[in-house]
């Protein structure tokens, strides 16, 4: 079959598909139309809020004049590729968010295990307390960290009283540990939510069989439960890592570690105004997130929780 003939056949097929979706006569066609109608808002949003801004970012990053978006230039990309500072920010972001993800997922496994395996007193309160941070803006999380770990902070002063040291030297809200705590506080609910769903699918009778066969609680967790929740851990890690990369409010207030979101903010701030570089960083960020998600999903079973 020639290329022209093949293309004509494809166009005809698409035209037929569009026609039968618009005017269905069979149940299958009607179902196709229902799916199209249900997906329409998503596609509209994806185009308006996703593809159009991304196209704009590409254009800004390649513009010679970023105010009037005039002319073409690779200067922003060259700057991004050759300036060591940007590589340092990228590395800072990856290790910091990676570590926060690891700690959040590990804590999430422990919390989900406790919630799903035991009858906890006041379980609803525990669930509410664990899920609460998901609704908090990053700025509020930063404020909470300051209230706890700042110079006037409750924890800082309690430690100061207990150890006899000065509160000034102990304050860690604006140190990297304070920011790390803020990240974990924000990410833990996401990890826990995914892992609780996974835990609900764990075969409890297999766990009981393992214990009857002589495995201690820890051995049962290691040999039976952990392999079963592994896809959930991968899903939680993907979701948490992506969310961690996007945190901005907390890092903007606490300012103790230079990460990619803060760098984009700095690039478009008065004083160092470089929207083309900010656009280039933004595009690298989006490409990285998409690639990371595709690679990460290979470690998640089809029936595991969607991320």
């Amino acid at each position: 079959m020639s290329v022209r003939k093949s293309a004509t056949t494809s166009v005809r097929r698409i035209a037929t598909l569009a026609s039968t979706t618009a005017r269905p006569t069979t149940e299958r066609e009607r179902e196709r139309r229902r799916i199209a109608v249900l997906c329409l808002p998503f596609f509209a949003l994806a185009i308006v809020a996703g593809f159009v801004p991304l196209a704009m970012l590409v254009r800004i990053s390649l513009a010679e004049d970023t105010i009037w978006m005039d002319g073409w230039s690779f200067d922003a990309w060259e700057t991004l590729a050759t300036t060591p500072e940007y590589r340092r920010v990228a590395w800072n972001t990856l290790w910091f968010v990676g570590l926060a993800t690891g700690v959040s997922v590990a804590l999430g496994v422990a919390v989900a295990h406790a919630l799903e395996k035991y009858d906890l007193p006041a379980e609803r309160i525990v669930v509410a307390a664990v899920s609460f941070p998901i609704a908090l803006p990053g700025i509020v999380v930063a404020y909470l960290i300051t209230v706890l770990l700042g110079r006037q902070g409750l924890v800082t002063n309690a430690i100061a009283v207990a150890t006899g040291q000065g509160a000034h030297g102990l304050a860690s809200a604006t140190a990297i540990t304070g920011l790390f705590l803020g990240y974990v506080y924000s990410l833990l609910p996401r990890a826990t939510m995914v892992l609780r769903g996974t835990y609900a699918e764990v075969n409890e009778q297999a766990e009981e069989a393992a214990r009857a066969l002589g495995a201690s609680r820890w051995e049962t967790f290691y040999h039976v439960t952990l392999p079963e929740i592994r896809p959930g851990i991968a899903a939680a890690a993907i979701l948490t890592f992506r969310s961690g990369l996007a945190i901005f409010g907390t890092v903007l207030i606490l300012q103790s570690h230079q990460v990619v979101t803060l760098q984009i903010h700095n690039e478009i701030s008065v004083g160092s105004y470089a929207p083309d570089v900010a656009a280039a960083i933004g595009l690298v960020y989006v490409v990285f997130i998409v690639a990371f998600t595709f690679v990460g999903l290979r470690f998640v079973d089809d029936d595991a929780v969607e991320v």
């Binding site: 075969n203 297999a206 009981e208 069989a209 214990r211 009857a212 066969l213 002589g214 495995a215």
Partner: protein
């Protein structure tokens, strides 16, 4: 293997009593069946022996040693579930070798033990497969091999045949029954299928509402039920009201030469086989006919309006409204004490 004793075992969940003062012994090397309707406490009893439930009152003893508060992993109990509960992330061999591994058995020895058991259960060729690729019958064999691999004090089987098709169930039942008998395993076999319990078990315990109604060999349970519940639950029975006097029971419409312990009002349990159809001085009116292939089940009304269940040959052409002559075989009835 060892014997298992339950002493006044009671398990309550709040106000709900699941098991109520059960005294029961599983003798060394015997297979004890536990039957009863849903919610009667069968599985709770099994889980208490395994250590997954702590009794509210009473004790569990293995060979006379109190294990009531010993955790499950220290009881050396083999568990076989209805849902198989295999470890899907391990191969069949790894599943079977898991228990010995937890017991600290060296790798070569546990592999050898696993292969031996798989061969014994005729599934040696499945050793490197994952459980999810096996049929229900194959998975249940793996579950049994895994439970036997630890050489348990007692093997606990929780409705292991439920969910299998009828033909496979019959085949597996015979095979497992023979294997357990050969290995002289002490086993508790929980099932709702009386036929399965009768075929496989040395003795049967009948539970109802958490209490033990009767325990004994299958034939005794069937032929001499101790109360109306057992008479009706194990097989089908007709309970005939009568009056016992001087070695006879007067049923009103006929008299049976059977002895009761005390004179007075009694109930006589009569299985379908106790009624000889086609001959006799009694007449019953057929009200329902169900063709079952090898036999026909009739529901009929006796002269005193008692409804009885009768079995006729499958080729006999009984119809609703027929009046059938019958007699009662006094050798096959049992007076309830």
């Amino acid at each position: 293997m060892s014997d298992v004793t339950l002493e006044s075992l009671t398990k309550a969940y709040g106000d709900e009593v699941a098991v109520d003062g059960v005294d029961l012994t599983i003798r060394d090397g015997e297979i004890l069946g536990v039957v009863g309707p849903s919610g009667c406490g069968k599985t709770t009893t099994l889980r208490t022996i395994a250590g997954f439930e702590t009794p509210t009152q009473g004790r569990v003893l293995f060979d006379g040693v109190d294990v009531t508060h010993v955790p499950p992993e220290e009881r050396n109990v083999g568990l076989v579930f209805q849902s198989y509960a295999l470890f899907d992330t391990m191969t069949v061999r790894e599943n079977v070798a898991f228990g010995p591994k937890m017991q600290g058995v060296p790798k070569a020895e546990r592999r050898e033990r696993a292969d031996e058991l798989l061969a014994m259960l005729d599934i040696a060729e499945l050793a490197d497969r994952r459980p999810t690729t096996l049929s229900g019958g194959q998975q249940q064999r793996v579950g049994l091999a895994r439970a036997l691999a630890i050489e348990p004090h007692v093997l606990l089987l929780d409705e292991p045949m439920t969910g299998l098709d009828a033909e496979l169930k019959t085949r597996l039942r015979d095979e497992i029954g023979d294997l357990l008998a050969d290995l002289e395993v002490t086993a508790l076999y929980v099932t709702h299928d009386q036929e399965e319990a009768m075929a496989m078990c040395d003795r049967i315990a009948v539970l109802a509402d958490g209490t033990l109604e009767q325990v004994g060999p299958p034939a005794e349970i069937y032929r001499r039920p101790e109360n109306p519940f057992v008479a009706n639950f194990v097989g089908s029975s007709t309970l005939l009201e009568g009056v016992a006097e001087n070695g006879h029971v007067d049923l009103g419409f006929t008299e049976l030469p059977v002895a009761a312990e005390t004179d007075g009002s009694v109930r006589v349990a009569a299985r379908p086989a106790a009624f000889d159809l086609g001959e006799g001085s009694l007449e019953a009116d057929v009200t329902d006919v169900t063709y079952l292939g090898d036999r026909t089940r009739l529901t009929a009304t006796l002269p005193d309006d008692t409804t009885v269940t009768l079995h006729a040959d499958g080729i006999d052409g009984y119809r609703v409204g027929d009046s059938v002559p019958l007699s009662i075989d006094e050798q096959r009835v049992h007076v309830l004490e």
